[in-house]
Symmetry: C2
Subunit: 563 residues, 2 copies
């Protein structure tokens, strides 16, 4: 009987646990530096794998590079992880937007694929040796792969970046999203065919033309009949099956079965899962909550294991070829930014927005890495090319957001939590009247911001005289615009006895936010005040905040908006 | 390089997809018959596996009984599934309740373990051959296993049953939950030690006494230092890490690492995961939403794969031994119901409640099956004993809820959706006045319930005269108590033009619920009306319901309470 020994299981559990823990830690670090999480996760793999720990303590990391049985299991686990990741990514696609943004998006999508594709193909044909082409691989297949690698986009990274920057619902954002979807679909079809060709020995072994036909048929069927069938079936599942188990089971098993089908036909499993996701996500009956559950579990548990695994596979330093990497990055930037930028201009967008679209589409992120890894595993590319592609994927992703911001001259969206000053937290306010409370809070907040406490105090009191800032429900929000500040700052105080801020409901305030904003910042104050007004409608959360014992606890409550 | 072929991946994906789909389908069927989902899942395995399809079409089911590479991966996958399942089960434990229910629960817990344990041990020692004991296994170890198998309880099944029956927060419910927790912990420690002994060849190979010491130390540390440390760390993660990725990553990696530790020491991985879950779930900073995400994904995706896999492993019909099964079921019932019942009496509970506690604790469910499967895989028991234990687990679980209801003479909690009559759905109400609307709805609803439409109509109109039933927000709830009904019935009508039901906000009703309750049923009407009043506060949901095109769509919206 084939089964795993205790030692194998220990290896597997330990590896998974360590990968997840360090991956998460470094992902958080990346986030603090305004970088995508995936960069931290890959670094965790680099640290745990042959690049760093492996070369320092070859014996100590036995558990992280399992051999034989446990290696197979890890391989199967990460394969299923990618399949589920693509299922979730597919669910984020909004087909209605794809149709609505019609003209511009099709220009961007078309040029954004064509330009880098032609460039990549030509580059391999003209100087194959510079690009790590090695004898034994079909040159056309290699050129096709490299062309695809340059023309792919990373839908999840792009969507995440647009959300973070608050561009998701703007014109630029919509065009980018729609084009990226088109890009994704075309790119994956081409790549899946390439993969099917090279790894085709044990697949169905159909002729290329037939595979393309089957893929197109599958795509069309999923987007028409499949989509409609799902939209018919989902309400029945919601009405008669258990909630949310019915929908979850249906979505995941559909994704797995479609993945099995495309894998069997000879294109990669991820394509089937992605198309299943698109068809599922499009249904009006797909509840947000279900998407969230799948998304959170897959994005935070499965996907990290896959990306940490990338760093475990190769020695990134040993296989780092500076020249090759530079060439790949250059080709990637020029091809994508120029292609998409020109497409956007042709589609009628202004020059500045067109350039932003180019940089937005340039992010390759996770998709490029999945693609490179599959190519590596199938022997299509060498380890040097793999490392170059990974570095290219990271570079394009990291640069994407900041470049869009630079071009569009806009600011990252911030939340109240970002302005909270930890050292200005007053856990027991002594005063029981407004002027005393404001004085105490000014004394705590002003020095941290490099301001004069008395100036802050009088500014807040002046404002308080115009209209009292008691919001009701035991919350008050004294505030003022202050000269010489660079960014907003919020100090919080908790009063056990309560301070009468003259609120409409007559209740004394136990939770007081003092909000200071720069004199020339016209929007922050309004944004902060309206976010706080929304927040106090959650009475349970407010009650819990009034009993917070530390800045950390309060911040946790504010950020998760849940008790 | 160890990697999976295309064919292997196709097998794995197809198997997982088919298992999940059929498992879910039969779980829903089981639910309709008021049975636990796990029964449906195991039946799915019986159908797909050697018992049914396998013996009918030995060649056609190759993909469901993978060999070699893909079998190993499936094995690893289900192992990780149990570890995560126990992590989530641990999170449901409420340590404060364990302490609060002190006296009674400790009697029940103690007697509920001692009684069946002694009985099981004695039974093996007195007539070993009847119980499938076979030479080659240490008789003491076998007796210890069987004793443990009889004394274990299934926390998740018990919690689920109590919730379903609305007993969770009653005295009986609390005592049962607390005792079950005690039971679980003691049972798993004993069983883990047994497992460690028999599968000990490739584990650490520590002496038994040392293992017990390490386990106790681990348990005590997790419940004291570990618990406090987690409670300190969690607020920081909430405040500074991404949400909910930070907590999810932390919880799962902690579970995996603890599992690796206990597996390495020589007791089973599930114990470490369970204790990590208990320590995590106890923290006041663990958000409900995070537990839900983990719970839903693990319960509906991972756990079903494991339980379907049980049916795939053995031929249940071929290995069914009626006498052995009967003996096992008898011993299980007598030991547990008597033990716990006596314990509850000693703890001061009335006779009727004591008996209910006995039946409540009797459910073995998933836990027993996990335990039996591990024993089977380690060669401790044969396939016949395995089948008997599985049937015993199912029988005790199925009987538990109904017996408690019978003993306590209470009713299952029902929701509005359960009373909705599909055939009485009126998608386009023609009338625009109250009397016409009530007439149309009575015509639709009364015949289905075997009532006279005119009688229903006049009863509702009479009620309407006393106080108009327009709730506001475009919803009206005409209702009446009707002679000769057995159970409440609700008919829904949607009016595009609106009907003036004299609501306080003056808006006409577009969504009308007509509620008929039996004349002698004093509580149902109040419950239904208050549930509907709560519901209409969700304005978005109401708007969506007003546009429902069918009964199915409306029911789906009502049940998921989300759009």
């Amino acid at each position: 009987m084939h089964k795993l020994s205790t030692l194998d299981m220990t290896h597997i559990l330990l590896s998974l646990g360590a990968m997840l823990a360090l991956g998460r830690l470094l992902a958080e670090l990346a986030r603090k530096l305004n970088q995508p999480a995936v960069i931290g996760e890959i670094f965790a793999g680099i640290i745990l794998g042959p690049t760093l720990l492996g070369s320092m303590f070859p014996d100590a990391v036995w558990f992280l590079r399992p051999t034989g049985e446990s290696r197979l299991v890890m391989n199967g686990f990460t394969n299923i992880a990618i399949v589920l990741y693509l299922l979730v990514a597919g669910m984020d696609v909004d087909l209605k937007k794809v149709v609505r943004q019609g003209k511009t998006a099709s220009y961007v999508g078309f040029m954004g694929v064509l330009f880098p594709f032609v460039m990549g193909y030509a580059a391999v044909m003209i100087f194959p040796n510079y690009l790590g082409y090695h004898i034994g691989v079909d040159k056309t297949v290699f050129a096709l792969f490299f062309a695809t690698a340059l023309s792919i986009s990373a839908l999840p990274v792009i969507a995440k970046t647009l959300m973070d920057l608050n561009y998701y619902r703007t014109d630029v954002g919509m065009v980018i999203m729609t084009s990226a979807i088109f890009n994704d679909i075309v790119g994956w079809i081409i790549f899946s065919i390439i993969l099917g060709r090279i790894g085709g020995a044990d697949s169905m072994g159909l002729p290329v033309a037939l595979v393309v036909l089957v893929v197109l048929l599958f795509t069309v069927l999923m987007l028409t009949v499949g989509r409609m069938a799902i939209n018919k079936v989902l309400p029945r599942i919601l009405a008669y099956a258990s909630w949310p188990g019915g929908v979850l089971g249906f979505a995941v098993s559909l994704g797995l079965l479609c993945a099995a089908f495309t894998e069997w036909v000879g294109i990669h499993a991820v394509f089937g899962a992605f198309m299943a996701g698109v068809a599922l996500g499009d249904s009006e009956h797909m509840r947000k909550r279900t998407k969230e559950t799948l998304d959170q579990f897959v994005s935070f548990i499965f996907a990290p294991l896959f990306f940490v695994g990338i760093g475990l596979k190769v020695n990134l330093f040993e296989n780092f070829d500076p020249l090759l990497t530079l060439v790949v990055i250059l080709l990637a930037f020029v091809g994508k930014v120029a292609g998409c930028g020109i497409g956007a201009r042709l589609g009628g967008m202004p020059a500045r927005e067109s350039l932003a679209v180019g940089f937005g589409m340039n992010a390759r992120g996770a998709m490029e890495i999945i693609l490179a890894l599959l190519a590596l595993e199938h022997g299509l590319i060498g380890e040097k090319m793999f490392v170059s592609l990974v570095i290219m994927a990271l570079t394009t992703s990291v640069v994407s957001g900041p470049m869009m911001q630079l071009v569009l001259k806009s600011k990252r969206k911030r939340q109240i939590g970002d302005y909270l000053v930890g050292r200005a937290f007053v856990s027991h306010l002594k005063s029981s009247d407004v002027s005393g409370a404001v004085r105490e809070m000014s004394d705590a907040l002003a020095p941290v911001c490099g301001l004069d406490p008395r100036e802050v105090e009088s500014a807040v009191i002046e404002r308080e005289k115009i209209v009292p800032t008691g919001l009701g429900f035991g919350v008050a929000i004294p505030h003022a615009k202050v000269k010489g500040m660079k960014a907003p700052a919020i100090g919080v105080a908790i009063s056990r006895g309560g301070v009468d801020f003259n609120s409409a409901d007559g209740l004394p305030a136990h939770l007081i936010f003092m909000i200071l904003t720069p004199e020339d910042d016209l929007t922050s104050q309004v944004e902060i005040l309206s976010e706080l007004s929304r927040m106090i409608k959650n009475h349970e959360l407010c009650e819990r905040m009034k009993n917070a014992r530390s800045h950390t606890e309060l911040l946790g409550l504010l950020r998760t908006k849940e008790i």
